[in-house]
């Protein structure tokens, strides 16, 4: 187990190196000039050139990459061109705000998705199974940014129940409650698609288990149906559910959360990525994307390890 952990952790190094290279060259091959974004169109060519030299933008791309990589490894992620602050502390700060949203969204997705999946499987082909199918197709087909706009329109503008966005208000209410109120809508909007996917996967995995022979053996033991479904069938479906849930949480951090943060002005990594792209803030962009890659890879490793812990056939073989 420990050997595996070490092996898999070492394996992260080439993955992250490859990821960093892809991120770096991709961003540099994108059109747009950070100098233009920073100085506007009326700056003199000399001033532009001076700034280009200052940021090393005239060097060959490969040299720029290795210089950047060297600095990144030393913990120097550069300065944000737009905000004039070091990238790394800013990324870490934004990371925790995103984690808050992602955790809430994941929790929602896992609870709703897994419960719906189990109910669907146990009541296969009943009206509730069909209803869950319809709801999950709806959740899968609605883009989160559209759903977010509709939710804001209904719950904030029309009903006035929830704030339209942001992390907290300045009215000086009880803080935790205030943050929760801001959290609930973006978390549900971000979690809806993963919830639907988790529900589908859980249903399929449960049906697979429920048709196995040992279900009859469990009933022959005199166990309650609830024990059979939750204690045995779900326990067997768990490895599949966990690996899919883990993947979904990864996508949440990088994907859905990005759109949702923009719609709800949630000041996390996603909103920051958006701002850095619009502002051609290359060091910021690089830092944000590299960090997100890192999180995604680590999360996958965690899922792999959990998968082993809960699946004796993989663990003991």
């Amino acid at each position: 187990m420990i050997a595996l952990l070490v092996r898999r952790t070492l394996f992260l190094i080439p993955v992250l190196l490859g990821g960093s290279a892809i991120v770096f060259f991709l961003i540099h091959s994108a059109p747009g000039d950070p100098i233009d974004a920073l100085m506007g169109m009326y700056a003199s060519p000399e001033a532009r050139e001076a700034l280009r030299i200052k940021y090393g933008l005239n060097d060959p791309l490969l040299a720029q990459y290795f210089r950047w990589l060297g600095l990144v490894l030393q913990g120097d992620w550069g300065m944000s061109i737009q905000q004039r602050v070091p990238v790394l502390p800013l990324v870490l700060e934004k990371f925790w705000i995103t984690i808050l949203l992602t955790s809430a969204a994941s929790l929602f997705a896992a609870i709703v998705g897994i419960s719906a999946g189990i109910i669907s499987a146990v009541k296969q082909n009943s009206w509730i199974d069909h209803l869950i199918l319809i709801l999950s197709v709806f959740a899968l087909s609605m883009p989160p940014y559209w759903l977010g706009l509709i939710a804001i329109f209904v719950f904030s503008v029309q009903l006035g129940w929830l704030p339209t966005g942001g992390l907290y208000s300045f009215s000086g209410q009880m803080e935790l409650f205030d943050v929760l109120k801001h959290l609930i809508m973006p978390a549900i909007v971000a979690g809806l698609t993963p919830a639907a996917i988790i529900a589908r996967v859980t249903r399929a995995a449960m049906l697979e288990v429920l048709k196995l022979d040992f279900m009859t053996a469990l009933r022959a033991k005199g166990l309650r149906e609830r024990t059979i479904v939750l204690g045995h069938a779900f326990r067997n479906a768990l490895p599949t559910v966990v690996s899919m849930t883990g993947l979904q949480i990864g996508y949440l951090i990088l994907g859905a959360a990005l759109f949702v943060e923009i719609i709800f002005s949630w000041p996390g990594l996603g909103l920051e990525i958006y701002k850095s792209v619009v502002g051609r803030d290359m060091p910021m962009m690089l830092g944000l994307v590299l960090f997100s890659t890192f999180i995604f890879v680590v999360l996958n490793l965690a899922v792999d390890i959990i998968y082993r812990v809960i699946n004796p056939r993989v663990r003991e073989a």
């Binding site: 196995l212 022979d213 040992f214 009859t216 053996a217 469990l218 009933r219 022959a220 033991k221 005199g222 166990l223 309650r224 045995h232 326990r235 067997n236 809960i310 699946n311 004796p312 056939r313 003991e316």
Partner: protein, 345 residues
């Protein structure tokens, strides 16, 4: 009409014996499929005394497993018990509510299965699997249940029970898994153990030792056994009385040694003939001609008619009732005496 030709239970009409444990009357379990209604169990009567070992023999699809599952009320959809009654220890099982039935399962009636590996929870340790039953029905704590489980496994001649209790099913052999299922089934001291093809998936040598194990344990607990199998030799080793099933009906019922000595139904004769035997070495095997009828076929008369070597027109028109041919020997054939002579000649 139907009522008139109902099978007669061996022992029906008699006063219930004081040691009677299980009485099944006119049991009908049908499967409603797209191709029609499959009458897998089509009017079965039998009884079982306390501690008795009763064999239920038949080929695949004869309805023996469905009969076994019906007694447990564990027939899966689209199967349903549509008629008859099952009395166990004086209670009408078909009239019980789900909860009372569940309390009987695993405590008063247990079941073991063919293909033991697939009847264990793949991600549950053996020790937890066995003690789960004991905890459920007897309220025994986990630790005490483990001790009891180890004790039972020891009786089953398991060399290192502690290791087995710590293992997962996929780490054990088929024979060991079956011992685990037996231990789980018997640990609560049930009055009836239903063994559905319990040895069919095992090596012949393992088969014999499992059957011996089963014998010993059920003797200790005074447990009756209903054993379904397609293997004549298993019945011979494990059962005192045997019923032959064909097309969802019981066609012959008698003591095991009588069945081998003096079969009274052409189907039984065919079955016995198709068993390879030492005294017929060098002779070609004698498989039975033809196929059993489809369970969805609507047959008025004898279900064996299509394959019967001694059939007469009457067999197609009327269903031969299970009648007592000689004391304790029941046959559902209009011409039981001819069965043996006609075929062996």
């Amino acid at each position: 009409m139907q009522q008139h030709f109902r099978t007669i239970d061996p022992g029906a009409g008699k006063v219930p014996q004081p040691d009677e444990l299980l009485r099944v009357e006119d049991l009908r379990t049908h499967f409603h499929t797209r191709h029609g209604i499959a009458k897998s169990v089509d009017g079965v009567d039998f009884h079982l005394s306390k501690g008795e070992h009763l064999g239920l023999i038949g080929e695949s699809g004869s309805g023996k497993s469905v009969t076994a599952l019906s007694v447990m009320r564990l027939v899966r959809e689209p199967g349903r018990i549509v008629g008859g009654s099952i009395h166990f220890e004086g209670q009408d099982l078909l009239g019980l509510d789900a909860q009372s039935m569940r309390r009987l399962r695993g405590s008063r009636i247990s079941m073991i299965f063919q293909d033991p590996l697939n009847h264990l929870d793949p991600v549950m340790k053996i020790g937890d699997w066995i003690s789960e039953t004991l905890t459920l029905h007897k309220g025994v704590g986990r630790k005490a249940a483990y001790v009891e489980a180890a004790r039972i496994l020891k009786v089953l001649k398991v060399a290192s029970p502690e290791d087995v209790l710590r293992a997962y099913p996929f780490q054990l052999s088929g024979g060991m898994c079956q011992r685990v299922l037996i231990a789980t089934a018997i640990i609560t001291g049930p009055a009836l153990l239903i063994a559905d093809e319990a040895t069919s998936a095992l090596d012949v040598t393992v088969q014999a030792s499992i059957l011996r194990n089963l014998d010993e344990l059920t003797d200790i607990f005074g447990t009756a056994v209903l054993l379904t199998t397609h293997n004549m030799l298993v019945v011979r080793q494990a059962c005192t009385r045997v019923m032959v099933m064909y097309g969802g009906r019981i066609v012959e019922s008698c003591d095991t040694d009588v069945l081998f000595r003096n079969p009274m139904h052409p189907y039984t004769v065919g079955l016995l003939d198709s068993v390879p035997a030492l005294e017929r070495i060098g002779e070609p095997l004698r498989p039975m001609a033809g196929e059993p009828p489809l369970p969805t076929e609507d047959i008025v008369g004898c279900k064996f008619y299509g394959r019967c070597p001694i059939r007469r027109p009457v067999c197609q028109e009327m269903r031969p009732p299970l009648a007592e041919v000689e004391s304790g020997h029941w046959s559902a054939c209009f011409f039981p005496e001819e069965s043996r002579s006609k075929i062996s000649s």
